[in-house]
């Protein structure tokens, strides 16, 4: 049974369709990346998963239950870090951590103190005096110190410095080792690449890609810079080659992964003098879906 199963989810606000037939499947024990630009529907999805918002239609199951009907019972088994952490200005960080922990059924006090130390958070300070990063840390400590089956993290590292991001990644890996399922919404691609087993990419309320990182990489293009002894004629007409340009005697091109072999064989016939290829990154995948460049006529998903 999946930890989270969403199919054909629709949520509208007036005439805006925030989610438009959205699907998501998170397996138990995996760290699932949830990628998309601002306004794509990530937070709306998460809030429906938590029973804070009502769905208009579609099926949603969280840990085997209905998030709207069984909210209280489910919330005992999950912890949540909101994207925008708002705290009570007159409570201290330590009080908020204990409060949030006990609202979801208690937390591990030793882990709480350990996390406070690792995140360098002073629990005696009033939340009013906390920076955005410290408010974020408060919610993260409260979530990670709880013994739960599912962590729902909505852009948890916005506002954290790189050192704290490293601590956070370390702790999420520990949670996964302990068998916790994690849904991590983000637009920090490096973080998703570092942590996630599988990724779902959402745009305008619909899924555009979903799969393991390896699968998604397979669908992307490889950047190649090559210098050959003999000029290659009509290379731009070869299937799978895109964005060809010459820089002196070096040619820069992008090649669809499934055509890479054929293109390399062609280049080899012209006596390669130097070759540089960059692996496809999630960045590139992201840019291709959301960047300014128009989408190619045959999308990688369609080509498969």
């Amino acid at each position: 049974m999946p930890a989270i199963a969403v199919s054909q989810l629709v949520k509208t606000y007036g005439s805006t369709r925030a989610l438009d037939g959205f699907d998501l499947r998170v397996e138990p024990g995996e760290v699932h990346g949830f990628l998309g630009p601002n306004g794509a529907g990530k937070s709306t999805t998460i809030r429906i998963l938590l029973g804070l918002l009502r769905r208009d239609s579609g099926d949603v199951t969280v840990l085997g239950g209905d998030p709207w009907r069984d909210a209280v019972a489910l919330h005992r088994r999950l912890a949540y870090v909101p994207g925008d952490v708002n705290l009570w200005p007159n409570l201290t960080g330590g009080e908020v951590i204990d409060l949030l922990g006990s609202l979801r059924g208690g937390l591990d006090h030793r882990r709480r103190d350990d996390l406070l130390e690792r995140f360098e958070l002073d629990p005696t300070k009033k939340c009013r005096t906390y920076s955005k990063g410290n408010r974020q840390k408060t919610a993260i400590v409260a979530a990670l110190a709880s013994d739960v089956e599912l962590l729902v993290l909505d852009e948890p590292t916005s506002g954290l410095d790189p050192l704290m991001e490293a601590v956070f990644q370390d702790r999420v890996r520990q949670a996964r080792t302990a068998g916790t399922t994690v849904l991590l919404s983000s637009h920090v691609l490096a973080e998703v690449e570092a942590l996630c087993d599988r990724v779902t990419i959402v745009r305008a309320g619909r899924v555009v890609e979903s799969g393991t990182l390896a699968e998604l990489r397979h669908l992307t293009r490889v950047s190649v810079a090559v210098r050959t002894a003999h000029p290659v004629d009509r290379l731009d007409a070869v299937p799978g080659v895109h964005d060809l340009r010459a820089d002196g005697d070096t040619m820069h091109l992008e090649v669809d992964s499934e055509h890479l072999g054929a293109v390399l064989r062609l280049l080899a016939d012209h006596d390669i003098r130097s070759l540089n290829s960059a692996p496809p990154s999630l960045d590139e995948l992201f840019m291709r879906h959301y960047g300014d460049r128009p989408a190619p006529a045959t999308s990688p998903a369609g080509a498969r």
Binding site: V72, N86, P123, K125, K126
Partner: protein
């Protein structure tokens, strides 16, 4: 760079933000001044009534403490005695809120970082806030002066009244300018400034209470403590009597001095910090804070304490003047009529007490509205999100806030009733006994609880069904109840309108006996409204 650069732009920004708030304050204070002055002019049309009023208030310690020193028996003097102190306190509070809103609040929320990084001089934010606040004070002064002239009172006295009122504003604008530098939160800065208003009132009350009555028996010369208070200075201008306009220099000089202190403090501190460092708090939550209801209580208790102190002071004051009602009202048939119209026909004292009780019920209803709306404040500020993602049902979360609100209503009603009874019994010899009178007044106050709960139920229903409108619905409902209750008979409102207010269905206790029927009916309505709001809240999206 010029330290005042950008003042004009910041002032325009402040006016844009306050485009509703300030006009409401200005129009509201002017309208209240006009309405009360008009009713006073009506009640004391006869020379004999005015002489009786001035004679009694001059010798009444309580009247001197609350209304200031009376200055003769002209209609203008009586208008001053009946209106000036209340309006001056309102102006002082409005001014301090305005100054803090445009100085410390901007620093606390971080908005100042944006404006302060632009071409804005070091002293520009404070200068802009003071300009806006003092401008509003001058408009209120001009508005009230015009209203008084409109009531055919002499122009010089009206101008002196308006100028004295604006002078109070100037003095407290400067006080708030200083507190906004000292404290790092707008709440602390506002509280400190409000306490300063309270101290000024206290000094003036003591000074006037200790004052001496002149030979003619119609004027009071205040003792020295009044001269330490900006509210006292304003009284000493004595509009419509001596018109000592030269005394207006006192608030002006004080304003300049305190404003200079604030400007020096601006030079000495970093943006965003105060002079009082925030103290560290507990690193762990106590057992009381580990539930949704515990959190609600933590959020409600400070406000409830403030209301309790305020209403207890009011209760003592009201109870203490009750015995003087007979003497004060004396042979003024108009005033006696007004009181019996509101409080019913019993003894004049009981009628007065019943009137007081209906006022107290409305004030506590104000607390109830504020306390129930606290739930909406939590939701709107995004703090509900993390709590609702915990294992807490929505009904339990809302129930915690409502329990605090309902408990607070009962405590405040009982406390106010008890203090009224206690203070009244303490000033009178012939009552049945202090305990009995205290119990009687506590019961009379608590008889209004079901009506307050109905109003709270309206707020809960609004919160469930139309959260975005819940604040507007709540305060409008309270205002309509106040209108129907206090002015229903005077303004000849249709019976249907008057009956729509739950407070119209409470008997005029302690004049009439309490009957269970209407109270149970009100409770049933309250429970019905509560259920509607609860169900609607459970079924809707959270406002995130």
């Amino acid at each position: 760079m010029n330290a005042l650069a950008g003042t004009g732009r910041l002032a325009r920004l402040a006016l844009r933000r306050d485009r509703i708030t300030l006009p409401v304050w200005i129009a509201g204070v002017t309208a209240v001044g006009f309405a009360v002055a008009a009713s006073v002019a009506d009640l004391y049309a006869a020379e004999s009534d005015r002489l009786a009023y001035a004679g009694t208030t001059a010798v009444s310690v309580v009247a001197r403490a609350f209304n200031g020193p009376v200055s003769g028996a002209s209609l203008g003097s009586i208008v001053v005695a009946e209106t000036f102190t209340s309006l001056a306190v309102l102006v002082a509070l409005m001014t301090t809120f305005t100054v803090v809103r445009h100085t410390r609040q901007n620093e606390e929320t971080g908005r100042f970082e944006l404006t302060g990084s632009a071409m804005v001089g070091r002293h520009a934010p404070l200068a802009a806030a003071l300009a806006v606040a003092v401008g509003a004070d001058l408009l209120i002064g001009a508005g009230v002066a015009a209203a008084l002239v409109g009531l055919d009172l002499p122009l010089p006295g009206a101008l002196a009244y308006g100028a004295a009122l604006a002078g109070v504003g100037v003095a407290f604008a400067a006080v708030a300018a200083v507190t906004a530098q000292i404290f790092s939160t707008s709440r602390a800065a506002n509280s400190a400034a409000a306490i300063a208003v309270g101290v000024a009132f206290g000094l003036r009350a003591v000074g006037d209470a200790l004052g001496t009555v002149d030979a003619d028996g119609l004027r009071v010369t205040s003792a020295w403590p009044s001269w330490l208070s900006p509210l006292g200075w304003a009284n000493q201008v004595r509009p419509f009597d001596a018109d000592h306009s030269g005394l207006l220099a006192l608030p002006a000089v004080f304003g300049l001095l305190a404003g200079t202190v604030a400007a020096v403090l601006v030079e000495r501190r970093d943006a965003g910090t105060g002079l009082v460092a925030p103290r560290p708090g507990p690193a762990r939550a106590g057992a009381g804070l580990r539930t949704a209801t515990g959190l609600a209580w933590r959020l409600h208790r400070g406000g409830l304490l403030g209301w309790a102190i305020g209403l207890a002071v009011l209760g003592v004051a009201m109870g203490a003047v009750t015995d003087e009602v007979d003497a004060l009202v004396g042979d003024n048939a108009g005033l006696a009529d007004a009181i019996t119209q509101l409080g019913g026909t019993g003894g004049l004292v009981d009628a007065f007490l019943a009137t007081i009780m209906s006022f107290v019920a409305l004030m506590v209803a104000g607390y109830a509205v504020q306390a129930v709306l606290r739930a909406y404040v939590e939701e709107g500020a995004g703090r509900l999100e993390a709590v609702a993602a915990g294992a807490v049902s929505r009904s339990r979360w809302l129930g915690g806030h409502l329990a605090c609100a309902a408990g607070g209503v009962l405590v405040l009603l009982a406390l106010t009733g008890a203090t009224i009874g206690l203070a009244y019994a303490a000033t009178v010899d012939g009552t049945a006994g202090v305990m009995a009178e205290t119990a009687r007044m506590t019961g009379a106050a608590l008889a209004h609880a079901p009506a307050v709960f109905v109003l709270a139920g309206v707020v809960v229903a609004g919160f469930g069904l139309l959260p975005r409108w819940s604040a507007a619905i709540a305060w409008t409902a309270l205002a309509l109840c106040a209108l129907a209750g206090q002015f229903g008979a005077v303004l000849d409102l249709p019976t249907a309108v008057v009956n729509a207010s739950p407070f119209s269905h409470v008997r005029a206790v302690p004049v009439d006996e309490v009957t269970a029927g209407p109270l149970l009916a009100l409770l049933a309505v309250a429970v019905g409204l509560l259920a509607v709001g609860m169900v609607a809240f459970r079924r809707r999206d959270l406002a995130l």
